[in-house]
């Protein structure tokens, strides 16, 4: 079997210790959460890793809490916990959709939300769902604590704006207004379910008086990072949610996408999926908002 190369390992008990360990470990020191990305990256030697800082002994980094104005999800919260959360289902359905199709059960039981954002995979499932939910991340680093929109964390394939000693501690997701709905849809190589996405789309809408007042659409595997589709969002905002207006937004999403061809799919097929999946995600979002799509 493929063996891991030697590395330094630590289990800090506090955030401060962890940040210090990362800072002293330098470029190739890495946070270990669920390990479902990091261990794979180490085995495949995608990333040189000299030190592993396991943050799972640090208290307070898990859990899903109702803060009233917002939902707090600890960075170490397992994908399975998100999948099974009533609160998240009620408030941020796209996140539950995404969690329930992220990898298979024995991976999902290890994978964390923080690690998903930390890995910054263009194919991320939680990324687009967090983006359309307007989530931000709370980050602890050598300079103290800060909060940033998840959307702004992604800078390139596999790259975030976090420094190597930054640790995401939790995610804050604003409680949505009345008329909010969201959904996440993806397609993998085996035609569905839990494979890494050939393409994925999250969408959210706020419907007021039969009109889409606010709309967010985020795409995965359709560009170098999970990102928003501005033209598509603009196309739907202010419109009544009909098959026609949703379809027009979906067409626009295909224009917003900048897919590449790789081992999973060709660029042109991905462009088609951008349209089809955006339409399906929008339908799901509208349905979960309690609205309906007029044919």
């Amino acid at each position: 079997m493929k063996r891991l190369r030697q590395f330094a390992y630590s289990e800090p008990a506090t955030l401060d210790e962890a940040v210090a360990a990362l800072a002293s470990g330098g470029e190739d020191a890495r946070v270990l959460a669920g390990g479902t990305d990091l261990i794979v990256d180490m085995k495949t030697e995608r990333l040189p890793t000299s030190a592993v800082v396991n943050i799972k002994k640090i208290p307070g980094l898990t859990g899903i809490d109702d803060l009233g104005e917002a939902t707090r999800i600890g960075a170490l919260t397992k994908v399975t916990a998100i999948e099974g959360s009533q609160l998240v289902q009620q408030r941020h359905p796209a996140l539950v959709d995404a969690a329930s199709v992220l990898a298979s059960p024995p991976v999902r039981a290890l994978a964390t939300i923080g690690g998903n954002v930390g890995r910054a995979s263009p194919a991320s499932d939680l990324g687009p769902a967090l983006i359309v939910s307007a989530a931000s991340a709370r980050i602890r680093g050598t300079m103290g604590e800060r909060e940033e929109l998840v959307e702004g964390l992604y800078v390139g394939p596999g790259q975030t704006s976090l420094t190597c000693s930054d640790i995401i501690t939790d995610f804050i997701i604003p409680s949505p207004p009345v008329g909010f709905g969201s959904g996440h849809v993806k397609l993998g190589k085996r035609g569905g379910g839990t494979d890494i996405a050939m393409a994925g789309t999250s969408a959210s809408v706020v419907i007021e008086d039969g009109v889409v007042r606010d709309c967010k659409i985020a795409l995965a595997s359709l560009g170098p990072i999970p990102f928003r589709a501005p033209t598509a969002e603009a196309a739907l905002s202010g419109q009544a949610p009909t098959e026609e207006t949703l379809g027009a937004a979906a067409e626009a999403a295909a224009e917003d996408a900048s897919p590449i061809g790789d081992v999973r799919a060709s660029a042109s097929y991905r462009a088609t999926l951008a349209r089809v999946l955006t339409l399906r995600a929008l339908r799901a979002a509208v349905a979960s908002s309690g609205g309906w799509v007029v044919a």
């Binding site: 891991l4 794979v40 024995p106």
Partner: protein, 155 residues
């Protein structure tokens, strides 16, 4: 460098010194000689290495040894250590839910975990729970039959 971990393996408290740069799978197979757990791909895709951690199936090839501390780990060796096959194991034997047998420990453990959570899962729930474990022999129809046979009887 070794780390002392205090863990429970198949119901027995186990305090061992582990190299923290090894995976749980390596420690189980090579240090504790519990070779019933297999590796199929090493990157979490095939599910062959599944063990139960606090009752939940996890891919042990992606877990570092240190994370076993404080957990209750169950491997296939723990299911029939009294010498009696469990209900799930018996159903696998009866229905012929195995061929080469390499995925069988993971399938049996995952089915066991499912049936503890939900005594009567339906076919779709069984498929969903077992969806992360590959069986190249394609024993799926009989695996499904085996689990459904136990479903309802309780595990």
């Amino acid at each position: 460098m070794t780390f002392r971990i205090d863990t429970t393996i198949n119901g027995d408290r186990t305090v061992i010194d582990v190299d923290p740069t090894l995976t749980l799978l390596e420690v189980l197979r090579e240090q504790l000689l519990l070779s019933g757990t297999k590796e199929g791909c090493g990157v979490g895709e095939c599910g062959t290495c599944v063990v139960l951690c606090d009752g939940e199936p996890i891919a042990s090839c992606l877990v570092l040894a240190g994370d076993a501390a404080g957990c209750s780990i169950e491997t296939i060796e723990g299911l029939a250590d009294s010498g009696e096959l469990s209900d799930v194991q018996r159903a696998f034997v009866r229905t012929g839910a195995l061929q080469c047998g390499f995925c069988t420990p993971a399938m049996v453990l995952t089915a066991t975990a499912l049936l503890r959570e939900d005594a009567a899962p339906d076919a779709e729930e069984v498929k969903k729970a077992l969806g992360g474990i590959l069986c190249r022999c394609g024993a799926y129809p009989k695996i499904l039959e085996a689990v459904l046979e136990v479903s309802g009887e309780g595990a």
